[in-house]
């Protein structure tokens, strides 16, 4: 039975739709503006006549960005850190989560508190820096992937997921003579695709966006991830090599804004492209975390 909507309810619905649309606009407009401005002529962007459609379309800004060596080396490094880092994260997290998910494991009661404590207390920035320095990891690629090998939060999510795998599967496998290593690789991991997918995404996005570790531990600019280059170009307004070749100071300043917008697009494009395909996993990841946490 459908109850007819009252006038008040209809007004409520309309206001609600208006508010939702407003949220949508506020979220999307900055992206739209960046795209439009990156495609427009520097003069029209600087004078403020661009706001919804590109004016005086030109691709010079992209030309400058795509010819820049730093952007490409930053891209390469970020991809390296993301790939290697995520593989290390997944292996290490799984190796910790599986034993801790076994109720019969006699080390569980000692090890779990040791791990959980690190979520609430730590040595902090300086002692960690000194450790990394003493390990000789400063200014090496490994510093970007090893010190963050396990996120305790993700470890707990994964452990909870493993705990929900029926115990009878383990018992059956043990009767068949399987050991824990075999059970993990052949039974638990294949059954854990959802949580593995979510972990991959979380860790990968973390590596892709990470900036502070690079700032702390890296000195050589050829090791810099994309985010360090972006900081230089977008925030410190340090011009790209390509731009230094451009005639006068005024010309450089004039094209600067469009180049920065093009830089945002070039660096954010991968996430914007994969986002529609991945977003359902993102949400389910938060749910897995939220319900268990």
């Amino acid at each position: 039975m459908k109850i007819k909507l009252s006038l008040e309810d209809r007004i409520y619905n309309i206001i609600n739709i208006i508010l939702a649309t407003l949220v949508l606009c506020i979220t999307l407009y900055p992206f739209l503006y960046v795209i439009v401005a990156s495609l427009s002529s520097p003069e029209s962007v600087n004078s403020g006549s661009v706001w919804l459609f590109p004016i005086g379309i030109n691709l010079n800004a992209y030309n400058v960005v795509l010819k820049d060596k730093q952007i490409w080396s930053g891209y390469f490094n970020t991809i390296w850190y993301t790939l290697i880092g995520t593989v290390i994260n997944l292996i290490m997290t799984t190796l910790a989560a599986y034993p801790l998910s076994r109720r019969t494991f006699n080390g569980r009661r000692i090890i779990m508190p040791i791990i959980a404590f690190t979520m609430f207390f730590g040595g902090g920035m300086i002692p960690t820096y000194i450790l990394i320095k003493n390990l000789g990891m400063l200014d090496s690629r490994w510093v970007m992937v090893i010190p963050g090998a396990i996120s305790t939060w993700n470890l707990i999510i994964m452990r909870s997921f493993f705990e929900n795998i029926p115990e009878s599967l383990h018992e059956a496998a043990i009767i068949d003579g399987a050991n824990d290593l075999y059970i993990l690789v052949r039974i638990v991991v294949p059954l854990s695709k959802p949580v593995m997918a979510v972990m991959t995404l979380f860790y990968a996005v973390g590596h892709w966006n990470s900036f502070f570790d690079a700032l702390l531990y890296l000195n050589s600019s050829q090791l810099y991830p994309l985010q360090m280059i972006l900081r230089k170009v977008l925030i410190q307004f340090d011009n790209m090599e390509q731009m230094k070749a451009i005639g006068t100071f005024e010309d450089r300043e004039s094209i600067g804004q469009t180049v920065r917008y093009a830089t945002i697009i070039v660096s954010t494009l991968p996430i914007l492209l994969v986002y529609p395909f991945l977003q359902k996993y993102f949400a389910s990841g938060v749910m897995i975390g939220a319900i268990k946490g």
Partner: protein
């Protein structure tokens, strides 16, 4: 009683039997355990340098002891109150403005009846969460540019003079918090939407029969239903009062805005890493960690009492 009759030998035998049963599990957890000891516990041990005159050439235990000298130095420095005030205010404002935002968004999204539109708003609202902080701050800086930025074009359209937002201390907190809400509101609303989807639809049916309109349903059914989630999230948020991540502040601030922007973490970074004052920086960091730990522990205790939900 029984085990008193067993010989020492059989007890050891039992132990080795248990270990044998779990040997693969121990092998697996070996690397993670080493990881935690090296990268989490050794830095905790490294905190010793807060109490000595540390020099990287001498090593951690070899420095001359100075006791609480660096802590006292920090408490007496002009920075102490400035850092405490900035850290505290950024937190308070972000709780006042940032905390209710995802709840309101969740209510709005939940109220959309068209399924496709509901999904679209939800999906798009958490897109900014996946854009890096560097890019978000980069967008903010460029939009606010006094000469070429979008915001100042709009202001001049309305006959206002351009404002150089990024170097004006009184704009820092507003920009920091507003951009934070823009980036995280959608993502944070997911947990409330999950809570909302668990509300018994029978309650709404009953309310409709009683003649309650949508606003009344929101106030008397929806809000009370998600109140436990709201309280837990608020308590957890309170436990983080003394930590403002250094990352975003470092990207946003400059010497002109230090007086309002500098927080404990950025100060530790500048002094500790920038000026290599390891002992002093470490002492400041330890002060922050200690307060945070106390906050989390007490909040956990309160949460245990109020909601029977606790972190440990």
């Amino acid at each position: 009683m029984e085990h008193t009759f067993k010989s020492h030998f059989s007890k050891r035998d039992k132990l080795s039997k248990i270990f044998n049963r779990d040997k693969y599990l121990w092998m697996m957890i070996l690397f993670p355990l080493i990881y935690y000891i090296v990268f989490k516990y050794i830095p905790m041990y490294g905190l010793i340098i807060s109490f000595e005159n540390f020099s990287p050439y001498r090593g951690i235990l070899k420095g001359p002891w100075v006791g609480f000298k660096y802590f006292i130095e920090f408490f007496n420095s002009t920075f102490f109150w400035r850092l405490m005030r900035n850290t505290f205010l950024l937190n308070v404002y972000s709780i006042i403005f940032g905390f209710p935002a995802p709840i309101i968004l969740a209510l709005i999204v939940n109220g959309i009846t068209a399924k496709f539109y509901k999904k679209s708003v939800q999906t798009i609202s958490y897109l900014p969460h996946f854009v890096s902080t560097v890019v978000v701050v980069g967008m903010v800086v460029n939009f606010l540019s006094p000469t070429t930025g979008l915001i100042n074009h709009v202001l001049s359209f309305f006959g206002q003079k351009p404002i150089n937002f990024m170097i004006m201390p009184r704009w820092f907190r507003t920009i920091y918090i507003a951009s934070g809400i823009w980036q995280e509101v959608g993502w944070s609303s997911i947990i409330y939407l999950a809570a909302l989807s668990g509300v018994d639809s029978g309650l709404y049916e009953a309310a409709k029969v009683d003649g309650a309109n949508k606003i009344q349903q929101t106030i008397f059914i929806t809000l009370p239903s998600i109140l436990p989630t709201i309280i837990i999230m608020l308590i957890l948020r309170m436990g983080n009062m003394l930590s403002v991540g250094a990352e975003k502040v470092l990207l946003m601030y400059n010497p002109l805005t230090y007086e309002v922007a500098d927080v404990i973490n950025t100060y530790v970074y500048r002094i500790g890493i920038g000026n290599s004052e390891f002992s002093y920086g470490s002492a400041v960091g330890l002060f922050q960690s200690a307060i945070n730990f106390i906050l989390v522990a007490s909040v956990n205790k309160i949460s245990k009492k109020v909601s029977e939900i606790s972190l440990w």
